[in-house]
């Protein structure tokens, strides 16, 4: 609050034009904002940022999230072999030996292995070399003092073993050091390549976007998404919403509130229940197929049984939720039209249709634009209902971008969760969403919404 402590002592002597003083920052405001900022940062901004980062990685189930070790596996050696690792080097890397020596015993003692057991090992096997660890373990199991639990015995045995194969190292240096100790003959450059390739974690890449840009599936998904958003929006969120709002507008209060309650139900019904109500309505043995059967129309699972009915079902069931949004908004806008205007038009001789078309609808442009804008975003990025109903089926004919992103990243049959790819797809949505939002902010004269605080001190 000290920023305005320098009072302009004599305004008369100041040069014009006046430079307005900035209103001081409200410390209270920052304090009040703090909890919201904290939560939003943690669970909104940070995830957005992370999505942005992940999108440029090959993060997946097998890389794990946010970590990575250095492991040389037989598979890796084979792969490196394909890329020119010489057989001798590969063998050197794969080499593993067990030596019972003083150093090994010291290591074991330090690791807390039972002394009597070690004594017995020393007595029986001192100085012996084993080709493979399995033989050593077999020998150890023969000892009288061997631990009862396999784990204890095997970890004791491992202390006498030198090997890099299948060992997880936390850092590249640790692996490199071990490799050098074990197979000093390998050229440093080759070693470096091995270490580099042995990393199990995610790597940065732009591959995700290249894939998205080139695969044919993308076009189909984008098409589906357009169809879904466009049809739902125009037919239901705007079309039906507007229709309902206008019809209810002309109805007596009681009936109007009854129907608006009915149309609000889809919005407040938990999504799981709502999805199943539609299943009940459209599946074999459900209401519509039975009805169709009784009147002799084709009767099958409309939700999944044919592409056309699946689309129709999916759009309708989403649309019924969206319609309530339009209904509420449009109803509000309708109520904002002065009643006298309607009276005037009636007195002027307009029929209802003329009233609706020529007086009401032209004045609904703004709310229609708003609903369209707002719901485009919601529809673009929501997938819960689709997931729980058609789940993109039959086949993947009704899948949309957001659902596919979710499935790619987090939910699929093979458990092959491609976080990186999913994030890339999500990022596309984020960018599209942001771009649209910015356009809308322009469109809706955002600056008028922002009105400066009127208390300046």
């Amino acid at each position: 609050m000290s920023s305005f402590a320098d009072p302009i002592v004599d305004g008369a002597r100041r040069a014009r034009p006046v430079r307005p003083r900035r209103a001081p920052v409200s410390r209270l405001g920052l304090i009040l904002m703090a909890p919201a900022l904290l939560l939003l940062t943690l669970f909104f901004f940070l995830p957005v940022a992370l999505t942005g980062v992940f999108a440029f990685t090959d993060l997946s189930t097998s890389t794990g999230i946010g970590r990575g070790d250095y492991v040389v596996t037989p598979t890796l050696l084979r792969q490196l072999g394909d890329k020119g690792l010489s057989d001798t080097d590969a063998e050197a890397v794969a080499r593993s030996s067990v030596t019972v020596d003083a150093a090994g015993l010291a290591r074991a003692r330090a690791a807390g292995v039972d002394d009597r057991f070690l004594d017995e090992i020393e007595r029986r096997f001192m100085g012996r070399d084993y080709e493979a660890p399995a033989g050593f373990v077999r020998d150890l199991r023969g000892l009288r003092t061997a631990p009862r639990r396999p784990r204890d015995l095997k970890s004791a045995a491992a202390l006498f073993e030198t090997s890099v194969l299948n060992q997880r190292f936390a850092t590249s240096q640790a692996l490199a050091a071990q490799l050098e100790a074990m197979a000093p003959e390998i050229a440093p450059a080759v070693r470096a390549r091995i270490v580099e390739a042995s990393f199990t974690g995610a790597r940065f890449t732009t591959e995700n976007f290249r894939t998205l840009a080139t695969q044919k599936e993308t076009a189909r998904l984008v098409g589906n998404t357009f169809l879904y958003v466009g049809a739902t929006l125009s037919l239901f969120n705007v079309g039906l919403g507007l229709f309902l709002a206008v019809v209810l507008f002309y109805m007596p209060k009681g009936a109007s509130s009854l129907f608006s309650t009915l149309w609000l139900l889809p919005r407040i019904t938990p999504v799981v229940l709502y999805a199943v109500m539609w299943k009940w309505f459209t599946w074999e043995g459900g209401f519509l197929p039975i009805l169709a059967d009784q009147v002799g129309l084709p009767s099958f699972n409309y939700m999944k049984g044919s592409v056309v009915t699946a689309w129709a079902t999916m759009i309708t069931l989403n649309g019924f939720i969206g319609a309530s949004f339009g209904l509420i908004l449009f109803s509000g806008a309708l109520r904002a039209i002065p009643l006298q205007q309607l009276w005037a038009s009636e007195v002027d001789g307009a029929s209802r249709w003329q009233q609706v078309r020529r007086i009401i609808l032209p004045q609904m442009r703004w709310p229609i634009l708003f609903v369209t804008a707002y719901q485009t975003l919601s529809l673009l990025s929501s997938y819960e209902q689709i997931w729980l109903t058609t789940n993109g089926g039959p086949g993947r004919t009704t899948s949309v971008w957001a659902l596919e992103a979710f499935k790619t990243a987090l939910s699929n049959y093979t458990g092959n969760l491609e976080y990186g790819m999913g994030a890339a797809m999500a990022l596309v949505l984020v960018v599209v969403g942001l771009a649209l939002s910015l356009i809308y902010l322009r469109l809706f004269k955002f600056s008028e919404l922002v009105g400066r605080p009127k208390i300046e001190i």
Partner: protein, 354 residues
């Protein structure tokens, strides 16, 4: 066209707001419906144009019963208080609207001709391309009027058409509306609660209270001889001052607080001791007359051209006087001013004029 309301009744939610009202507006006449807020003026108007259905009685246009007709078929022009212009249409389209919904729809050229004609009459032909939001209040007002007139309605209804205008514009529009009504010779009802407006614009004024019409008369007549105390109190600004007292001996009137005044001459013969109320308008105090009153000035209000004085003539009795601006009287002075007793209005205990 002559307009009759016969025994007209209107209820909201079962309670009658207007009951058995009778009203006739002569052909070509402009009648003001004047009354306090909530007295039922708008209700009457909206029933005439068919927005509300009458719950009883009949509404006749030139003798034809229109009570059962929907608005669309009554051929009434209405100017609403907030104009109710269609904001998305240009002025031209606004005015044309009633024509375009007619069946059969007139040709575009015909519509354009009629719109232009009325626009010229109302002096808005220069504005036809604009939208309502680009017009000033007075211009919007005119557009509303044009829209109401364009299809040559049988009856023109104006519901507080000037309420939203600022004082200066109000003054202008008053004469403008009257001019147009006179020129078109249309039967009109003007609803207002502004007495100046009612008196200045109309042939006759109907004063309404609580759903009843108390008096219908020409403005001057109404001001000079109100039928009852309500009307007297309603008209006049600054308002009339009522003095409650009794007739005394010798044609005098006396109040409990001690003030006595001569009665108006036509009442001098009244028996003494009868409770009456005298109404004294501020312009009849301090300008001459047979009576006089003395008191201390408690408040002086310069209003530019004139000044308002409150004179306490007796404990609790304040007489108000309006006079051309003068500098010789100030708060606390004691004054003795004439009272024009003959022009005082007298009412009996029930508020009836004596």
């Amino acid at each position: 066209m002559r307009l009759n309301l016969e025994n007209f009744t209107k209820c909201f939610d079962g309670t009658p707001v207007i009951e058995g009202l009778n009203l006739t507006v002569e052909d070509g006449e402009m009648l003001a419906l004047l009354g306090p807020s909530g007295c039922g003026k708008s209700t009457t108007l909206l029933s005439v144009c068919g927005i509300y259905r009458a719950d009883g009685g009949r509404i006749l246009f030139g003798g034809r019963d229109v009570s059962a007709l929907p608005s669309q078929r009554r051929n009434v022009g209405v100017v609403f208080q907030n104009y109710a212009l269609y904001p998305h249409l240009t002025v031209e389209e606004n005015i044309a609207f009633p024509l375009t919904v007619q069946k059969p729809r007139p040709s575009a050229a015909e519509i354009a001709r009629q719109v232009r004609e009325i626009a010229e009459l109302i002096h808005i032909d220069a504005l036809l391309g604009r939208r309502p939001a680009q017009l000033s209040g007075g211009q919007q007002q005119r557009v509303a009027l044009a829209r109401a007139l364009v299809r040559k309605p049988d009856v023109l209804l104006l519901d507080e058409p000037l309420a939203n205008l600022d004082a200066k514009l109000r003054l202008e529009m008053r004469s403008e509306i009257r001019r147009i009504q006179l020129e078109t010779g249309i039967t009109a009802i003007l609803v207002t609660h502004d007495q100046v407006e009612a008196m200045s614009m109309c042939d006759r004024v109907a004063i309404m209270d609580k759903g009843e019409i108390l008096q219908i008369d020409s403005p001057t007549q109404m001001y000079r001889s109100p039928a009852n105390r309500f009307v007297a109190g309603f008209l006049g600004n600054p308002p009339i001052t009522f003095l409650e007292g009794r007739t005394g001996p010798e044609g005098r009137f006396s109040m409990e607080a001690g003030l006595t005044l001569p009665l108006p001459s036509h009442l001098r013969g009244m028996p003494s001791g009868r409770p009456i109320a005298l109404g004294l308008r501020p312009e009849h105090f301090g300008h001459g007359g047979q009576g006089q009153a003395t008191g201390r000035v408690t408040f002086v209000e310069p209003q530019g051209r004139e000044m308002l004085f409150d004179v306490q003539a007796a404990p609790g009795v304040t007489l108000r006087s309006i006079q051309p601006t003068r500098d010789d009287v100030s708060i606390g002075d004691e004054v003795t001013w004439k009272v024009d007793a003959d022009r005082m209005l007298a009412f009996d205990a029930e508020g009836r004029r004596l």
